[in-house]
């Protein structure tokens, strides 16, 4: 196997995106994604069985499309990488089954990797100034909201905190529904917030009171915020008053962004790590990127945001992490790994 610039095919099926990526070392060759988001739109959220069915249908075509995009053939691949977790179990299993068979069909090794660490690995692709460690990483999507301390991508990742209830992306979806906006909520809230006053309503910032900062220093909570927004809107409606959608959307978004960025910057400051990486689909939110950039600059922290196509769930990030493991001389995973919906971030690779 080429261990200096290995050609890796990565498969990602942890949520509603079927992602297949191909990388050579740190060079991105293909990042193909089939999403079942449209099918979930009518239910207002990801339905696990719908996602898993869609993965099975999309897997073969997505692998073919990625190979064509990368202009490589399967017999050139040095290894297969696949998301083992965390994520939706039934969805993950489709990727795991396909990846094992694909690796065996080519007689190449397989690397079972951690989805969250994959988000960090995405930042290594196609960049002139590579990711430096240690770095703090804030990963925000519809499925997870996690703050990591990455001392070394392939050997030392620590979970600083995570959501104790809803993921931030879920909060966007739920509040969008309260405001009568379609799924997915992130872009809808963004649109609705245009012209709104982010200070119009002071919605609660979860887990930021002094006592929370002891037990949940870097954890997040969005379920109270979602309820507060719903209650505020209903009180208006009950009183027969108009609901200022733009103000509600802007104020809600500000509460989410404020707590996400505040905790991430605090982590950098307190741990003495002058680097912050953002990842996950919610990074598409322009206000989040804006506030993160402002506060990172004020605190003297270098902020890194991979291109959006590498922030949302994708197979290229899984391939990128697989390539790092190969280049670090790691042995492949044994064939007996499964789908682990709660795989901890400390398990960068399932061996």
């Amino acid at each position: 196997m080429n261990t200096r610039e290995p050609l890796i095919l990565g498969i990602e099926t942890s949520c509603d995106e079927t992602g297949v990526g191909i990388v050579r070392g740190t060079t991105l060759l293909a990042n193909t994604i089939a999403s079942s988001m449209d099918e979930h739109a009518r239910y207002g959220g990801v339905v696990p069985e719908v996602a898993a069915r869609a993965h099975l249908e999309a897997m073969g075509p997505t692998i073919r499309a990625a190979l064509a995009e990368a202009s490589v053939t399967l017999d050139e691949i040095d290894a297969v990488a696949v998301t083992s977790g965390p994520g939706l179990a039934g969805a993950l299993m489709v990727g795991v089954g396909a990846a094992k068979a694909l690796a065996l069909s080519q007689g190449v090794p397989i690397y079972a990797v951690n989805h969250l660490v994959g988000h960090v690995g995405a930042d290594l692709l196609d960049t002139a100034d590579p990711l430096e460690t240690p770095t703090v990483a804030l990963l925000v999507s519809g499925g997870h909201t996690s703050l990591l301390l990455v001392r070394d991508l392939v050997s030392d990742v620590e979970l600083l905190g995570e959501t104790i209830d809803d993921a931030a992306g879920e909060a966007f979806d739920k509040v969008a529904r309260v405001l009568g906006l379609p799924y997915p909520g992130g872009p809808e809230i963004d649109r609705a917030a245009v012209g709104g006053d982010p200070k119009a309503i002071r919605f609660p910032r979860g887990l930021t009171r002094p006592k929370d900062l002891v037990a949940h220093r870097y954890d997040f909570s969005f379920s109270g915020l979602k309820t507060a927004v719903a209650r505020w809107v209903e009180q208006r409606e009950t009183a027969g008053e108009p609901v200022p959608i733009a103000d509600v959307a802007a104020s809600f978004r500000e509460a989410v962004v404020d707590v996400l960025v505040a905790k991430a910057i605090d982590a950098c400051t307190e741990l003495g790590v002058p680097r912050l990486l953002l990842g996950g689909g919610v990074i598409a939110n322009a206000r989040l990127r804006e506030v993160a950039a402002e506060r990172a600059e004020a605190a003297g922290i270098a902020l890194r945001i991979p291109p959006l196509s590498l922030c949302t769930d994708n197979g290229a990030m899984i391939a990128a992490l697989g390539a790092q493991l190969v280049m670090a001389g790691r042995a492949p995973s044994e064939l007996g790994f499964g789908a682990d919906s709660t795989l901890p971030v400390t398990d960068i690779q399932v061996v």
Binding site: R42, Y43, G44, G45, V47, E49, V50, A52, R53, H55, L56, M59, G60, I63, R64, L74, A89, G90, L92, M93, V94, G95, V96, G97, A98, A99, K100, A101, L102, A103, L104, S105, Q106, G107, I110, K174, R177, V178, T227, A230, R231, E234, Q235, T238, L335, G336, F337, G338, A339
Partner: protein, 211 residues
């Protein structure tokens, strides 16, 4: 020569062959478990072991057959996903086979005759049911109805024998595929899992917090 996979009950993987001259059917290797919870974990090892036991390199296979269910969805998908990917990997055809056909074929080739009702557990107090009437001149089972769901306490009366299966042999899946190929009858099923049930969806109605 085919790789065959079925995960509609446990996990079963086989390498099968049909001699083009003599028509002799052979299972060169078959490995599996009736564990219904660990399909994703065991699928890779079983494929590797079956290939090793048969002494066959992947590029000597002429296709990959898979049992398409019915069966519990999560496990069923693992085998189909693996079979799709392996077929893609060796650039050979994927051959879908109804898992009940493999069960019926196994019974008939073991000496059963006449009408046969194949029944498998579909969970939620339901069974999946298919009716067969025998083997045709190509040696393939003739399915006259199903697979379809029936309440556990209201199974249709079988016209002949009822057989309730708890395991599906990948060897039988593969040999049904071989026979269908030899008879020029492929495809015998669509490349779509036999879920028999729409996904469970609870559309969240945006519940009110006050009131």
């Amino acid at each position: 020569m085919l790789l065959a996979i079925d995960t509609s009950t446990g996990t079963s993987v086989a390498i099968v062959d049909r001699d083009a001259v003599s028509g002799e059917l052979r299972v060169l290797a078959e490995t599996g478990t009736d564990d219904t919870m660990r399909h994703a974990e065991v699928i890779g090892g079983f494929i590797r072991d079956a290939l090793d036991e048969a002494g066959i390199a992947p590029d000597r296979l002429s296709g990959v057959a898979a049992g398409m269910g019915p069966g519990p969805f999560t496990g069923l998908r693992v085998g189909i996903a693996a079979a799709h990917a392996f077929a893609l990997g060796i650039a050979r055809p994927f051959v879908p086979v109804p898992s009940h056909d493999a069960i019926a074929w196994s019974r008939y080739t073991a000496g059963e005759t006449g009408p046969l009702q194949v029944v498998t557990d579909a969970r939620r107090r339901e069974f999946a049911v298919s009716e067969y009437e025998g083997l045709d001149e190509a040696g393939l089972p003739v399915r006259v109805s199903g697979p379809e769901l029936a309440p556990r306490d209201a199974l249709p009366e079988p016209r002949g024998i009822r057989f309730e299966a708890t395991v599906v042999s990948a060897g039988a899946v593969g040999l049904v595929a071989e026979l269908a190929y030899a008879a020029g009858r492929l495809p015998i099923a669509a490349d779509a899992p036999l879920y028999l049930r729409a996904p469970d969806v609870t559309p969240s109605a945006g519940k009110r917090v006050l009131q």
